[in-house]
Structure formats: C-alpha cells, structure tokens
Symmetry: C2
Subunit: 226 residues, 2 copies
C-alpha cells in the first residue's frame, strides 16, 4: 500500500510532540522521581455500519511501530545503547507493511470547547467520512492508557452508521500529513480478524469487537461463541 524509504534516525533533543518531564515526590515518606510525558486525553469510536453489517476501521502507517520492527531486523543489541545515527543503509529496511496497523477511529481531546462526543463526531467525519449526530454516540467505557508514561484517559464510544450517513471518503487531514485508509471488516469475520496476529492492531479493536459481540449479539442475530 505504501512505499517507505530514505529512513534516517536522529536523537531528538527538542520535540513539539514528545516532551519528557520529571516529577519529584514523596511516597509514604520516601523520596522518589518519575519521568513522564504530558499528553492529551483521547477518544476512540467503534463504528458499525448497519447497511453493510461491517465495522469501519482505519489503517495507517505508524512510524513508531515501523521503527520497532526495524530494530528487530538488526543485530541484537540493548535498547540502552545509543542507536546508530544517520541513514539506515546497513540493512534492508522491512517493508512498509511492517508499520501498518488497524485501529479504531480515534483522536486527541485537544479542543477545550468541545465535548468528548463532539470530538468523537469530528474524528468519525474526518477519518471515515460518516456524519453521525452527536446523540447517536454511545459511551462504552473509559480507561487509562500508557500508565507508565502518559497515563491519559481514553474514552471509547460506539456509533451505528448507515450508508446514508456516508458523506465523504474520510482519510484524515491531509494538511496534517494524515494518510488514513478506511477499512471495512464484515461482522461475521470480526472475531477471526481480531485474533489474527498477522494483522497488527491495537487492543481497542479487539476489546470493542468483543464488547459488540457480547452486547449487540441479539440485535444483529450473531452467535455469541467468540
């Protein structure tokens, strides 16, 4: 799907996106510190198309995932060592597909004036092309992500859409460099998809598919043996 090349890794002394902080604190009288990153909370949305009985996911190239796989292709060395800087011409880089993941439609909570539902609605429109009324978004639950590093709260929603709600192609914001492919996973294939480890995905996909099977099974007449 993609061609990835000209890979070059450099240390990042100042990043707009990743900014480590250190908190000093005392826990039961013992002085400690912890390095963490400030980040935004986020929302994710399980989208089910009731016309085609498909889940709508997004598929995209994730540089961080790709770099994990790139590390794996190299001679064994410790993560504590400095990475070799400069062009990666010493080994053949893995194919771009090694960095492609399947995910729920999702986005950061970075607009203080909007509710979580409104932010979720915008993401569904931008990434997947469906215009969903805010009151059709049902909250599934919330949880903590990256508890060691960011600890942000992620809230998961469920949205039923129909072909009539489809008003565009989605694909993300091109001006922000997003290159998102919209993917349909038929309901009857969903649990096989979820447990197929050759298709890299986030836990959100697996959790939400299972939630659907457990909570929507009667409505859509599917087997609960998942």
């Amino acid at each position: 799907m993609e061609h990835i090349g000209d890979i070059e890794v450099v240390p990042c002394s100042s990043s707009k996106y990743l900014r480590p902080f250190r908190v000093h604190y005392s826990q039961n009288g013992t002085k400690k510190y912890w390095d963490f990153m400030r980040t935004h909370d986020s929302v994710s949305v399980l989208i089910f198309n009731t016309t085609s009985h498909c889940f709508i996911l997004v598929k995209q190239f994730r540089p961080a995932v790709y770099m994990c796989e790139w590390e794996r292709t190299k001679p064994q060395r410790s993560l504590e060592e400095e990475p070799k800087e400069g062009p990666a011409d010493d080994v053949d880089p893995p194919p771009a597909s090694a960095g492609v993941t399947y995910e729920l439609c999702a986005g950061l909570v970075d607009k203080p004036d909007l509710s979580l539902e409104e932010i979720a609605r915008q993401e569904v429109l931008e990434e997947c092309g469906y215009d969903v009324p805010v009151d059709k978004l049902r909250k599934i639950t919330s949880y903590r992500s990256g508890v060691g590093v960011t600890g942000a709260r992620q809230t998961m929603f469920y949205a039923e859409v129909s072909d009539e709600n489809c008003v565009g192609e989605g694909g993300g914001k091109e001006q922000e460099g997003e290159l998102i492919e919209v993917i349909k996973v038929p309901l009857h294939e969903a649990m096989n998809f979820a447990y197929n480890e050759s298709l890299p995905k986030t836990m959100g996909v697996m959790f939400s598919f299972m939630w659907f099977h457990n909570n929507m099974a009667s409505k859509y007449k599917i087997s609960t043996s998942v």
Copy 2:
C-alpha cells in the same frame, strides 16, 4: 493507601527512561518525520486463582496518571504551554488515590535470553507471589500498544494458579522502588469491576476479563451475559 507529597515538576532534558528520537523518511515520495520513543516489548498475564475463583490483579501508584489528574485540578491551560516549574504549592494536590490504577501483572521484555513465557512467569512470581510452571502459561494474543509513540508489541498470557502455587506475598522488586499491592477480584464481581469507571484501570484488565467470560465460561459455570 498511600501518602503522596512534596510534588515538584521539572523539565527533563535527559532521561534514562524516556528518550525521544526522530525518524526522517519518505512515504510515497513525500518527505516526513515522526518523533517516537524506543521502548521494550512487554508481557501481561491474566491470573485466575482456581481455589478462590478470583482474578489476581496488581494495584499501584502511577505517577504519570497522578500528574494527569493534577493537571486537571489547575486552571485551564493548553498542554502546549510550559508547565509551571517548581513546588506545586499553588493548589492542593489531589489525593494519592487519583494516581492509583488496577492492572494486569505485567513486565518489560528486557532479558534477551528468556522467552516471553519465562519473563511472564518471573513477573507473576515477583509481583503476585505465585510460582507458575512455564507450561501453564497460555498465550491469549498480542497487539500493539502506544502506536503513536512507542508502537511496542504486548503479548497477553492466561495463567491458572491455585493457593498451592502461592509462595510469597509478591509486591514487586523493592530495590527498584516498586510498591505493588496484590488485589483479588472475585469472578462473580469481575464484569461489574471492569465497567466501574471510578476504579481506574487499563484496557488489558477489561479485555482479559471479557476474554475469560467468553472462553472459560463453561469451565467455571458462569453466565455469559456480560
């Protein structure tokens, strides 16, 4: 459970734990870059005690989660602004409980000589005090975590233990500053626990509880209406 005090936040120009890198690459001919962090893969383990019919979880104070809640108590401001440095004496800090999360027993894959199962076994022993033979660890699945920042692979296991396997108190490695409380969640309360948002937890807890209900229900004679 804990007392947290003397909180002080400083920028972290050099962290042993969080080291941002930048990868420059071209995607379909377009030059791009992405900031990411190198990290280890990890394992997590759903532990079920067949003597008491309880799940065994760990509960610990997570500074990154606490700092998220600390931010929430302050006057609204953008994450892009610099945080106020120095002692946090301008507002009352939230109680320590705001930073406490419930999680699966888990650990980093940072010992190249050990298999994933062996690392999982060590974590179960260190954190929860159960000595589980490696061949009793059943792989559930694997997925990608933190796809925007780290992209590491996490592999989830299932371990059945009995009171006879309990050889210690667990609690983590004290020399590494770990302060882990071992928690039992009775099977019949598990799904209420999972969806109780006032008990902050990782998605791994929720996903694995649901996996258990869907896959072990017949063995342990529980209702599948979750």
